[in-house]
Symmetry: C3
């Protein structure tokens, strides 16, 4: 599979497996190991995590499974995130959800992620969300220390806008290598807020979360959803594809910005469906038919 | 007439004649030639086109007329645009309107424009509208090849926002020399979206399309329009002007950003009206009375 | 008190006394002098003015009072502003409120401020509001001349957005040292429009006007106001503070951007209340409880 070079020492697979819902999959360690190995065989070598996924449980599940075959660690890239403090039964002292990018919280969070994932390094650490309270100097210091100790090899952000990205980039010694944002025909926010233009300008390749809009594109419940669905079905038919999720992936992959879609499935067939989308040749007009079906203005 | 230097080798007349509606004017080649010569005599030497104007017919009409007196070519500057693919009886295979900034489309479109305009170069090529699907590397390559072959001397954009402009500028070897945007007392979008501030920062002089708001300023149909009209009439009176379009032109011309208004008229008297606006001295307070009449907030 | 270095030759006190409503305070020259001396004793050495405050009267009131003890001038920093032309009985010829950043108006306005304040220099001059009609070259020329003559030592802006700030900064020889903007739990505009991110990126420390939202935070009249008030009271209780305005000041002062709150009170006890807020240690979670109480989305 095509790999995307995000920095001199970081290549991710173009399709990334997301473990957001790993806890819901109810896999045994052995089953998860098998899924991981099959994904790797298909070329999907990058795995996306966050400290908070599954109420702080998903990293551990993956770590337990990995520990059955430690040699896999060198074949994969692990991404995790920090910075959101959820209200949770695991932290009964918290009164509300906050974002915390203090030096201590970043470093503690990474050390915890490493313990859970049973690894001694993250290939990529992302700040999970922008915060109204953001001490960029502390963040830069935490990044430097984590890098120096070999605990994190590369750094990026998630859900940041262009001003937040530029701001943080002006403090950190190492350049931010990506921004993980929501993109799908259902969510065009980053087409509209200037982020895609910014990524092109900065030569930053974004990761795209929720490319299937959490299932809403495949099971549309609204008029807008049905309009998009109709076009997706038409184009699947024209391209002789069995799965409309392939049309969605092809739509994302064709975009010149070079997105890395994050899939999130426990079914290896659906991983394969996504991987097969890499060779689909969607026409320019087909791309715009999907774009127009979202209801955007085309002056 | 004052000329505006947009690049080392491009000067446009401060007032630009627009051929958006040239097909509607129903002029013979001879009549159009006469109009063109009279405009040039008044100092209006720049002519604004696009491939798509008049359902892909206006460039040809101007080219036919120009061919009656080829020596005029050296006295004028021709601007054209590319990138919108209209649904049109001339392209029955198109299912919907799209924007196309592929290398092939840009180059083909320019070659077609040159053929229609019966010239071997454009003084200025503009990308007509920003696109959600934009391959800046291909655009930069197309610009370089068109420049090297002498087919296009200068490049710019139209209707871009500041992030799109900066992004493309980071790819092209030659700096973008202008951005053609809609500006009138009816359309203050570029006052509000930061583009005017950006033009000042970048020392880019914009071209202003639809300065009379397509006639809505002269024949107001809404309460807002009538409020603006009333102030325009008052100020025409104070300045002893016969035509309120002169008040509008003076309002645009007085702005420090240095706009080049695009007029679009088949009547040489109205070209003269616009040219005469160049010497009107509108007061600071008159400028703000028009601005305030648009209903904007003045905190 | 902590002082904030805004430029190599400008330090302001972290808490700034604002004279917006000085005319309403109805103080004798002697009373105002006493208030000023008491504020200085508390470390509040910076005083914020504008030509237009109190219908063009506040600068004179302060100047009269200062002239009772001219030696105070060296102990304080005077900030004033220019650029708004109010409709006023003092200028009966004005038909409407405008913004004027012409060379002449800036220079005249400063000379008038100096005369009113009975001083021969301003420590800091701010452009009061952005203007849709802005000749940055003239502004830069005025700044240079005022600086060269020693009439103004430092320059900044007020209520500008990031694009306006960058634009002006690209013209002026001297860097703009601050941007005075409205910030309070009631007004989060600059959290949302990217300005706080921009300040962090540019290492610009903003001044915060109306930190108590003109009293609306202390005397809430709306449901939103009451929700914020409730949290402020809770936190005052937790921190054992007598005044909830201290909670608000602590909330502003804790933010990493390094804001300088402008208070505006004729009562020295309330100046002291603000100064005492400098040593309050508000927790991270308390900060977010106030932020969340404003009703913003926390995804």
């Amino acid at each position: 599979m095509m790999q995307i070079q995000l920095s001199p020492d970081l290549k991710l697979s173009r399709i990334v497996q997301g473990h957001w819902r790993l806890a819901d999959w109810k896999l045994s360690n052995q089953q998860l190991l098998k899924l991981t190995e099959q994904a790797i065989e298909l070329g999907v070598t990058s795995f996306d995590h966050a400290d908070i996924y599954g109420n702080y449980s998903c990293e551990s599940l993956f770590g337990e499974s990995l520990s059955l075959k430690p040699s896999l660690r060198n074949e994969i890239q692990i991404i995790s995130k920090c910075g959101i403090k959820l209200k949770s039964d695991k932290f009964p002292e918290r009164k509300l959800k906050t974002y915390d990018y203090s030096y201590e919280h970043i470093v503690d969070s990474v050390e915890n992620s490493l313990k859970n994932l049973k690894t001694n390094y993250l290939d990529l650490l992302l700040l999970h969300r922008p915060s109204p309270f953001f001490n960029a100097e502390e963040v830069a210091r935490a990044f430097s220390d984590l890098k120096r100790r070999g605990q994190v090899l590369n750094f990026g952000v998630s859900n940041f806008n262009s001003q937040q990205f530029e701001m943080l980039n002006s403090y950190t010694v190492e350049r931010l290598v990506t921004n993980q944002v929501e993109v799908s025909p259902y969510c065009l926010d980053h087409f509209e807020n200037g982020n895609l233009d910014f990524f092109l300008k900065e030569r930053v390749k974004p990761m795209a979360w929720s490319p299937l809009a959490g299932g809403r594109l495949l099971n549309p419940q609204t008029e807008k959803g049905q309009k998009i669905f109709k076009v997706l079905v038409e184009i699947a038919d024209e391209l002789e594809l069995q799965h409309i999720d392939q049309v969605i992936y092809a739509w994302l992959l064709k975009h010149p910005v070079g997105m890395l879609p994050i899939i999130g499935t426990s079914k290896i067939e659906r991983v394969k469906t996504a991987v097969d989308a890499l060779v689909i040749e969607m026409s320019h007009e087909q791309w715009f038919r999907i774009y127009e079906a979202t209801g955007v203005n085309m002056p």
